[in-house]
């Protein structure tokens, strides 16, 4: 099928990546402010689950120091996962996604804006809270710093991977279960390198290799996954 489109007659401004990004980013943040329950749920889940572990496994300082980074990373991963289903599904259900696709902006622009807003509402507060939770596990200050750094690099990758998976699950019945099956296995490498960085620091080894790999993963994810999400959205809307 061919669609020929000639120059816009009445349009005020041509679309741009930045225009779509800032529109979607600002709108999603505004919606989150109007409806803060979801963001608070993510943060509360993270804090509660990370606080339950010391109660469950006992207050042995050496054991807690050993498992601390891994437990906090798993909690952050699950908390970030918790807010994923709504990323595109609400816009899909009320028709906003169609209007975004028909806008003059490239799809990758507004999709990236939505993903960035998702990170600001999930990954960013989790990263900011992680040193506080790390104290419960008796982690040393330098380990806390590396833990926060690994989360700062890793949680955007979770948002990006999750966005492509949630776009694939759009419109599917039982999408939540499908999303877990799709996304959680893909989160594994991020978890390994993220928790590994803090573990290495705790064992007086250099965390640099882990952080470098996380950074490389982040760059790769930023360059490719918004386009994967766009392709999946296009299939869902068709």
């Amino acid at each position: 099928m061919n669609i020929a489109v000639q120059g816009g007659l009445g349009i005020a401004s041509p679309g741009s990546f930045g225009g779509g990004f800032s529109w979607a980013f600002a709108r999603d943040l505004m919606l989150a402010v109007r409806h803060p329950g979801e963001t608070l749920l993510v943060v509360a889940f993270f804090v509660l689950v990370a606080s339950l572990f010391p109660l469950g496994v006992g207050a042995e300082p050496q054991l807690l120091q050993r498992i601390g980074p891994g437990v906090i990373w798993v909690c952050a991963l699950l908390a970030a996962f918790l807010s994923l289903p709504g990323l595109f599904a609400t816009d899909y259900a009320d028709g906003s996604l169609e209007q975004m696709m028909l806008s003059p902006h490239p799809m990758a622009g507004w999709a990236s804006g939505k993903i960035a807003a998702h990170w600001v509402m999930s990954g960013l507060p989790l990263t900011a809270l992680s040193p506080l939770l790390g104290l419960q596990y008796g982690l040393a200050p330098d380990t806390l710093a590396i833990l926060a750094a690994s989360l700062a690099l890793g949680t955007p990758v979770l948002s990006l991977l999750g966005s492509a998976c949630t776009a694939l699950a759009l419109g599917a019945r039982g999408g939540g279960v499908l999303l877990a099956l799709l996304a959680l296995p893909l989160f594994v490498p991020v978890l390994i390198f993220g928790a590994g960085a803090a573990d290495a620091q705790a064992a007086s080894l250099s965390p640099a290799p882990h952080l470098s790999l996380l950074g490389a993963g982040l760059i790769l994810a930023v360059m490719t996954l918004p386009f994967a999400a766009c392709a999946a959205i296009r299939i869902a809307v068709d």
Partner: protein, 193 residues
């Protein structure tokens, strides 16, 4: 010269063929009514023309910028009528000042409720946000799917005036509707068996 043309469009869903060999041509100042029974593929045809759904065959010529309004209005429950309108216009890159926004909301009968969250508006009032958008958007091509659903007599008359203005300024419209509309359509396209 604004023009919307489809040639030999065909679309199927699964094994069922919705329509085949549908052709139309709408010039400036004309509107085309798409008629057909429920489930005959009117919505699918409009989505094909808008580029949302891929047609199995055929060509589409869209000479000009267009807006598409389907069954789902893309209205956010947590934002007010005014914010929804401003957001929809900003997404399309249409610059409209606060005065123009206020005037459009007034004309659409939403002046009193402009600050209310959309979830507290009735179905017809939500559709009126779409009418305000039609007032402000300069797009020369309208692709509208059942624009009169849930609208009362006043709002239907308002839509007829907007359509007349759109045609006068050299725009065109492709509208799927079961209603008779005041500016008579230049052509009717009947799809389905």
């Amino acid at each position: 010269m604004t023009l919307l043309e489809g040639r030999g469009l065909a679309c199927s869903r699964g094994v069922a063929t919705l329509f085949r060999d549908v052709s139309f041509r709408i010039g400036a100042g004309e509107w085309l009514a798409v008629r057909g029974a429920n489930g005959s593929g009117k919505t699918t045809l409009l989505r094909c023309v808008a580029g949302l759904t891929r047609a199995d065959a055929g060509d589409i010529d869209r000479d000009g910028d267009f807006i598409y309004a389907g069954h789902l209005a893309g209205i956010k429950d947590d934002l007010s009528a005014e914010e929804n309108l401003v957001g929809a216009l900003a997404l399309r890159g249409v610059g409209a000042g606060p005065q123009a926004i206020g005037a459009a909301l007034f004309e659409a009968g939403l002046a009193e409720r402009r600050k209310l969250p959309a979830r507290r508006l009735s179905a017809g009032q939500r559709r009126r946000i779409g009418l305000a958008r039609l007032m402000l958007d300069p797009a020369p091509i309208w692709i509208l799917d059942e624009p009169l659903t849930a609208l009362d007599d006043d709002a239907q008359a308002l839509f007829a005036r907007l359509l007349a203005r759109q045609l006068e300024r050299g725009g065109l419209a492709l509208i799927a509707t079961h209603h008779a509309l005041a500016p008579a359509p230049a052509h009717e396209l009947r799809i389905g068996p």
